[in-house]
Amino acid sequence: MPETENTTPSVESSPGVGMIQMEVVSKWYGNFQVLVNCSTKVDKGEVVVICGPSGSGKSTLIKVINGLEPFQEGVVTFDGTSVGDAATNLPMLRSRIGMVFQSFELFPHITITDNINLAQLKVLGRDENEATNRSMALLERVGLMDQKDKFPAQLSGGQQQRVAIARGLAMDPAAMLFDEPTSALDPEMINEVLDVMTELANDGMTMMVVTHEMGFAKRVADRVIFMDEGRIEEDCTKDEFFGGERGDRAQEFLSKILTH
């Protein structure tokens, strides 16, 4: 396609409608505007890292994508389905989007296997055998086969987060959302989680990752979004972002977190 030759390669890899698309989305909590005219697009197979100061709206932005947070203005679509449309079957839509939280949020009252099985059984309607086979394969993949019969509280933070990733993957999602997946972890456990995420990205998963791990962003991301006060201030390729073509606020933010 000659007419798209001069656009950035990662963005044009699959032209047209993105897997995730936000058009001038705004959201308010009472009088306080958390999201201000946010627009972006994530294509199939893209990995987008979102960073920005605390309270800038990163968590809100990704919760809007699977409808965990309602929004008042704009349009959000996931794989062609409008998230804000009252007629959309939200549980069905959410089952196609994996989500990983800062505080893991494994279900404490059931075993690791049951954590990964539950939604396969109740949402996808898989039978017990099929679900367990899938769960075991995923536990193997994240290296936690020996923990399958334990309860979440018996696992370390890093192990719990890897189970949480497996739980999301068990639904065979079309995309995965991560909200600061490593910020609640002890430093020595961060890499075991980032390794799983890196592998996932290399396998072609579409991912949006809120994180301050700039090493991960440099290695894995296709694009970087920088948020400030509810606005998407920067939305550019990794090379542009780390190559210095970023605005002052992003520069200030980067120098702050890199000196830590």
Binding site: P91, R94, F101, A119, V123, F151, M171
Partner: protein, 220 residues
């Protein structure tokens, strides 16, 4: 009353007392089971975003919590046969009274339990594609219930004691049977001392059990 204490006479009436104890346990068990069931439904209504539903549930709770239990027992005793059009017997009207009364208290306990489950857990369930009902059933309520077990059991002990109020409608529970024996044999002191000890031991065992459970849950 005859001169000295004579506990031997109580031994002879053990089968009759046990019969009364069976009724006491039946009422307690049905009151707890039904109370928790309806209490949980009420709690879900109270927490519903649909205002009329939450208002009705809230009014129900406030109403029953401001009524003396004995009045509720009387009331159901006369009202239930009147509503269904034929006598239902003291047992079922009293059981219903206990269930409806306890439901108001269990509602508040379960409401606190549901609110003790963090928003993050609710999000996690939703994000997996669980519907509101599935999320309640598999994620929120089991945790709410587990968090509230000690308080639910404490309430059960209170109900166990309160079942003795059925004497007002002439049902033969443990206390009523003891009273009958005591008056028949003119052994009031021995009998009521025994009754007090039995209630005390059962409640004490219950309390010990709850403490142990609380420790176990705290360590889990």
């Amino acid at each position: 009353m005859e001169g000295s204490f004579d506990f031997a006479i109580i031994l002879k009436s053990v089968p009759y007392l046990a019969e009364g104890m069976v009724l006491t346990f039946q009422l307690t068990f049905l009151g707890i089971a039904g109370g928790i069931f309806f209490g949980t439904l009420l709690a879900l209504c109270r927490l519903s975003p649909f205002a009329p539903l939450s208002f009705v549930a809230g009014s129900y709770v406030n109403f029953f919590r401001s009524m003396p239990l004995i009045l509720v027992i009387f009331w159901f005793y006369f009202l239930v046969p009147f509503i269904v059009g034929h006598p239902v017997g003291g047992f079922w009207s009293v059981t219903l009274a206990f269930i409806m009364f306890e439901a108001a208290y269990y509602c508040e306990i379960m409401r606190a339990g549901i609110q003790s489950v963090t928003l993050g857990q609710v999000y996690a369930g939703q994000a997996l594609g669980l519907t509101y009902r599935q999320n309640m059933q598999y994620i929120v309520l089991p945790q709410a219930f587990r968090n509230m077990i000690p308080i639910l059991l404490t309430q059960a002990i209170v109900l166990f004691q309160d079942t003795s109020l059925v004497y007002v409608v002439g049902l033969g529970d443990f206390l009523v049977h003891a009273d009958i024996v005591a008056n028949r044999d003119n052994r009031l002191m021995e009998m009521f001392t025994t009754v007090a000890i039995v209630y005390f031991i059962i409640c004490l065992l219950g309390t010990f059990y709850i403490r142990r459970l609380q420790r176990k849950l705290a360590n889990a």
